[in-house]
């Protein structure tokens, strides 16, 4: 990893406006949890926390969108405005650039998602049991995988943001929900499967459609393939192709 690139990336992706917006976005699950605790009646806390808060809100919306914003901003914005040349025209191996950028994007995503998931989970369920910790671990792992995917996407296409939104909302939100055979191509299902495996709760409280071990293996595989593709594409990146 390259420290200079990481420091640059921190300043790139943590611009004041973007960070404020994402922090506000991360507070939405906390507000929903507060609303639930103040108005909800006759509802099982664990069940609501696992299914509505985590599986229904954070894993489906907050996690992929934060990863999409940070993942595509880390390198994609440089291709867009032409500043990528200032990093690429330096004697630095391409894998170092990808891994440095990815590390910053993933760290920022993990931090924001964990902040939201832990705070909202404690508010919603009181923090008892393994639901908060289990989901938080799975969400953190999912954040890394999503970032790998979106950093890769930003190198492969100049329309990474649109492609990412289509993947999150159309592919994961609609298509893989309709056809169960396609769950193995959904990072969201990996996250839910892994969470289910970690929390080992009563199936009546929460049950994922994908096996946790399968989900974990697929996470590693998808992240590795995305990084390999990203490095390979960056090695043959031609000026003008992503701008």
């Amino acid at each position: 990893m390259n420290r200079a690139i990481m420091e640059l990336t921190v300043r790139q992706i943590l611009g004041a406006k973007r960070t404020l917006l994402l922090v506000a976005f991360a507070l939405i699950p906390v507000l929903v949890a507060i609303l639930f605790r103040t108005t909800g009646r006759d509802t099982k806390l664990d069940e609501w926390t696992a299914n509505t808060l985590y599986a229904g809100l954070i894993a489906t919306t907050l996690l992929p969108l934060v990863a999409l914003v940070f993942g595509t901003a880390a390198l994609g914005s440089e291709f867009e405005d032409g500043t990528a040349v200032y990093i690429l025209a330096r004697p630095i191996p391409r894998w170092t650039i990808v891994v440095s950028k990815l590390t910053v994007a993933a760290t920022a995503t993990v931090a924001l998602v964990l902040f939201s998931s832990i705070l909202s989970g404690i508010v919603a369920s009181g923090g008892a049991g393994s639901i908060v910790s289990g989901f938080s671990i799975a969400l953190a792992a999912g954040a890394v995988v999503y970032c790998c995917l979106f950093v890769c996407l930003s190198i492969v296409t100049s329309r990474a943001l649109i492609a990412g939104l289509i993947y999150v909302f159309l592919w994961e939100g609609v298509i893989t929900s309709l056809f169960s055979g396609l769950q193995v191509f959904s990072v969201r299902q990996y996250v839910l499967g892994l969470a289910d495996r970690i929390i080992s709760t009563n199936p009546a409280t929460f049950s994922a459609r994908l096996n946790g071990i399968e989900g974990g293996i697929l996470m590693v595989a998808v992240a590795a393939v995305a990084v390999i593709i990203a490095v390979r594409r960056l090695k043959v990146w031609e000026i003008g192709e992503s701008s």
Partner: protein
């Protein structure tokens, strides 16, 4: 005149002899059915070379291939004998100033140049950045955010970032865009100094006067082909299918015109009170005949000026062919 290369470039360097700084061998680049660069070969050593061509001629494609940011579809682009494509280690010896004026707006000029020094793993990035900023005379604005720089200042900070590691080859894409006349002169002086120190500098520019003033060699690219290369005055002299025009001034213009008009190498003469305009198809013979004729007629020559040897006239001629 046919396309000429500075030197043939299809031989491997001899053992112990360093390969040319820049070497292109039968390089072509196409995008689908469109040929952007067509079978170009040349090699360059230390000095300043101007890359000229109309829009869409292929000069940016050529510069990007030199910089290792485009793969040749055919042929080889080498620097110091190594291929530029997929070879980031070459950036230790090469600096690139891209045409786009974008810089990281949140970094100050100093931070921007220091970033470049750090990415080059220089032992003292701060000192290297200070030196480079001093060379482009940007010390006064080095602590301001570069997002607020003028176009000329952005150009200078980009140049500083490109030379911070003291490269042996410097590639510049339209480096004088946005620079005021004083900055332009200062940058030209700096580039001349680098060339004197042995740096190979290749720059593209659409301003012919800049190329004429700065470049020792020109590469003229027209519709993807290398139309000409070398010293542009020599190129002009090689264009034998077009008359050369000279403006002469002497102590007796009419008698000199009468002496010249009978010579077979002179294809036309116009005389007014002040000057004679002579057209000839043979530059070298005319250069010998003119003093001979003046001597025979006991005429004193005050001025002999090639009237159409400006780079602009050379360029226009090559583009129209």
């Amino acid at each position: 005149m046919t396309a000429e290369t500075v030197a043939p470039a299809n031989r491997p360097p001899l053992p112990g002899v360093e390969a040319p700084a820049v070497e292109l061998t039968n390089v072509s680049r196409w995008y689908g059915n469109i040929v952007a660069v067509n079978d170009i070969s040349f090699s360059l050593g230390a000095g300043i070379t101007g890359l000229l061509g109309p829009n869409g001629a292929g000069k940016s494609t050529l510069l990007h291939m030199l910089a290792g940011f485009l793969a040749p579809s055919a042929g080889e682009v080498r620097m110091f004998g190594e291929p530029t494509w997929k070879n980031p280690d070459l950036y230790r010896r090469m600096g690139l100033v891209p045409e786009r004026e974008a810089v990281y707006p949140f970094l100050s000029g100093f931070e921007f140049v220091r970033l470049s020094a750090r990415l080059h793993h220089l032992p003292d990035p701060d000192a290297a950045a200070r030196r480079a900023i001093a060379r482009v005379e940007l010390e006064g604005a080095q602590d301001r955010a570069s997002g607020g720089y003028s176009k000329g200042m952005k150009q200078r900070v980009k140049v500083a970032a490109a030379i911070v590691h003291e490269p042996e080859i410097l590639l510049l894409d339209e480096p004088f865009n946005g620079a005021d006349p004083r900055q332009r002169l200062q940058m030209m002086d700096m580039l001349r100094g680098m060339a004197r120190d042995g740096c190979t500098i290749v720059f593209s520019s659409h301003i012919l006067e800049e190329v004429e003033r700065l470049a020792e060699n020109v590469l003229v690219v027209v519709t993807g082909r290398l139309a000409a290369s070398g010293d542009f005055r020599q190129i002009r002299r090689l264009m034998t299918d077009r008359p050369h025009t000279f403006t002469l001034r002497s102590n007796d213009n009419r008698r000199l015109a009468a002496a010249l008009v009978s010579r077979p190498i002179v294809s036309g003469i116009e005389v007014d009170n002040e000057r004679i305009s002579v057209r000839t198809s043979d530059f070298a013979s005319f250069a010998q005949e003119l003093p001979r004729a003046a001597r025979e007629e006991a005429i004193t020559l005050f001025e002999v000026t090639p009237a159409d040897e400006s780079l602009e006239s050379v360029f226009s001629y090559l583009v129209k062919r």
